[in-house]
Symmetry: C4
Subunit: 121 residues, 4 copies
């Protein structure tokens, strides 16, 4: 679809520990880019292994802007804190956007990146 | 397709050694997310370089749940153990789902992540 | 689409520091491949979190050639220098091409790769 | 398309040095999986930055098999050696297949993985 898709699913969320260096914390992040000329109103649904999804996270992304959402901090207007453990994200936008997901792991002496394209529809 | 796809293929399976730290084992994992309102009944086929595929692995994934399947342990209701060596996975679901594949390699002092989107149809 | 797509979006640009080893510098790169028989005329738009996009970067990619564009150096005919901080790329080509994005991070003793497929339309 | 696609493009080939440990060599690899019931006859085209592509590499992949092609060694029936430097791959199959590309870099004390989905059509 032109400019992106309205739905993005990321299957492998699992927040790593922050580690000891505050300038270089282990984290996960969701990047969303809106290349269109219309502002995007976005809802994020968090799915879990063994409980109901949480679906009341909302945020706005202006036209022709990109955002990097730190997933280890409270997110959206509702300041929802994703708990530790396995989770998945379903990003739902009213206009087509693009998105990707990344993890920085600092559990060992040297960092490791984990990066994934999502499924979009 | 809305909510995902019914077929996912991951081409680069190759189980790494577990390593010495039981709290941080080398492994591969398959993450499957079901954002739909219908339970998913899933069959997994393991393909090899030089022998017939094994296709009798089954599992269920309830509606609006995600799962992380450790591929280095016996998987599915049939408790199938994937052997060491090159393999590929074909995930077949009766309702559309999303999936991704990851490897954590601890063969050296510091870990390395390997992450891949699959082909879906 | 045959031979690729005319639009590619990469959502997670964030130039890492170069580090101390000039033979192994931290960087990001955009790879574009033109498998078609037609030369490609490409425009790149850089999107930011809090200001208007910059969209006057152009380059040509001949038929049946690939290119690796270092994003930490001035890019395109206009020699535009991407500033530090979060950004996204929108690659627009007059003929279908393929593209991918990578980051080499050398902030710690050992490097880490970050690699991502883009969204294309 | 059912079972995969007939064309796969990988934009970021760049063979890393082998390094000093023969049991753990830096390399790139192309994984191709044929989940169909038909044998696949595959041609691989290597594209460069500044010279004509090389397109006479062929291989067969039987039905319901996967393969891992080491790209740092001579490939295909023609035993073509990819030179050092930037390259891209165009994989062309007569039946739909799936493919992915990976790099293991051992230039520093600890390895780094680089993994990428390809564009398919």
């Amino acid at each position: 679809m032109e400019n992106g898709m309205k739905n993005w699913v990321f299957c492998d969320g699992d927040l790593p520990p922050h580690g000891d260096d505050p300038s270089f914390m282990g984290h996960e992040a969701l990047m969303i880019t809106n290349v269109s000329k219309l502002d995007a109103h976005i809802r994020i649904k968090v799915l879990f292994e063994d409980k109901e999804p949480y679906d009341r996270i909302t945020l706005d992304l202006p036209a022709e802007r990109t955002t990097c959402l730190r997933l280890d901090f409270p997110i959206g207007k509702e300041k929802y804190q994703i708990p530790f453990g396995q989770y998945a994200l379903h990003v739902i936008s009213d206009v087509p956007v693009c998105a990707c997901f990344g993890r920085l792991d600092v559990r060992q002496t040297n960092m490791a990146y984990y990066s994934l394209a999502g499924y979009s529809f």
